[in-house]
Amino acid sequence: MLAIGKRAGFERLVRAYSGDLYRFAYWLCRDRMTAEDLVQETFERAWKGRAGLRDPSVVKTWLVTILRNEHARLYARRRLERVEGEPEDWAEAVDPDPGQALDVREALHELPEGLREPLVLQVLYGMSGSEIGEVMGLSEGNVMTRLTRARQGMRRLLHSSNPLGKAKGL
């Protein structure tokens, strides 16, 4: 039996948000181990800074912002090179057609980070333009422009990888 407000309150937070935070972290760094480290650091920071969370309804945005900061800090500290080339093997994913889904993931990997990140935030979390702007420190207009370009980029990439143009109807 959990006890809200004591350690279980925070445990609940971890259980509720770790999955999507991991997914967002993966799309930031494109490395599974680093993604898990980022989520770990995020929750440590969140615990230490929990007094700063005044409004429980914005906990998702709060955690995502912490994770972004941790990502920036991690790369500054480790001077990690961005993972390039082939994405990891997602064959075990539960896609009905893994081959087709991989095309979209490859295209997403190919997008510049500045376009991929707002797109992932919108698709994964359903964030609005203003929420994404708050997380990324951008104006809502800038976010909407990036989202437009991200989808244009995805369509272009998927067309080029599918010269017959039959898949995805794009």
Binding site: M1, Y26, E36, E44, W47, W90, A101, G129, R151, L158
Partner: protein, 227 residues
């Protein structure tokens, strides 16, 4: 609305299709085609971003060692210190409860199709679900049109849609949560209340604080809640 305006909005947020955009689609085959393409892309994007989460991630996060000390041990120690000093216990509990209530609203918003389900769930299934939180009806709770053990509910529970004389409300039975007070919260256009059950917590989510309060009172009268 012209094609440029339509495409600017559709590419930035394909989920947003207001009346103006719909009217434009009816008169513009090119934008209608684009709209279909974008719907297909969105479906694939939603699938693509759902990369597999490592099994046991949450457990590892909670117990992983950091700097020679279990992270959670340090967290617990800090919590004990804070609680020992007596600062903010009630506030913390209330905030955590509000967080849980907000999560219940998010859960309900994530399953809008529940509101379209017609018919009535057999009483035996409702009884079984209520038993999971240690209660049973002592009067009619209303028509239950939906009942499911939701995987999306963390840490597990049952999602019901109950139609009462006071309005319809999502009722979430959370047997694995302990909270001995009531709390209410309104976010994202919905309202929610939590109140303790003999085993766990019952959450109510509805369109307004008034409906939530009335349904809460109705359930507290209709269910055996004495522990």
């Amino acid at each position: 609305m012209n094609c440029i305006e339509f495409r600017r909005i559709a590419l930035a947020n394909p989920g947003l299709l207001d009346a103006n955009m719909r009217r434009h689609l009816e008169s513009c085959p090119a934008c209608a085609g684009l709209s279909v393409d974008l719907e297909a892309l969105e479906a694939e994007l939603r699938q693509a971003v759902q990369v597999p989460v490592p099994e046991g991630l949450a457990e590892r996060l909670l117990v992983r060692r950091g700097g020679g000390t279990k992270w959670f041990t340090r967290v617990a120690a800090a919590a004990v210190l804070v609680l020992g000093l007596g600062f903010g216990l009630v506030y913390q509990q209330e905030r955590a409860a509000q967080m849980l209530a907000s999560e219940m609203i998010e859960h309900v918003l994530s399953e809008p199709e529940v509101f379209d389900v017609q018919g009535e769930v057999p009483p035996a299934r409702v009884m079984t679900a209520l038993a999971s939180v240690g209660t049973s009806p002592q009067a009619d709770i209303g028509r239950v049109s939906f009942l499911d053990n939701c995987k999306g509910l963390d840490p597990g529970g049952t999602h019901m849609l109950v139609h009462t004389a006071f309005g319809r409300a999502a009722v979430l039975l959370l047997p694995n949560v302990e909270y001995r007070r009531s709390t209410r919260v309104s976010v994202q256009g919905l309202s929610a209340a939590l109140f303790p059950a003999p085993q766990g917590v019952i959450a109510i989510v509805a369109d307004s604080p008034d409906i939530v309060a009335r349904v809460e009172g109705h359930l507290q009268r209709s269910l055996r809640l004495r522990i």
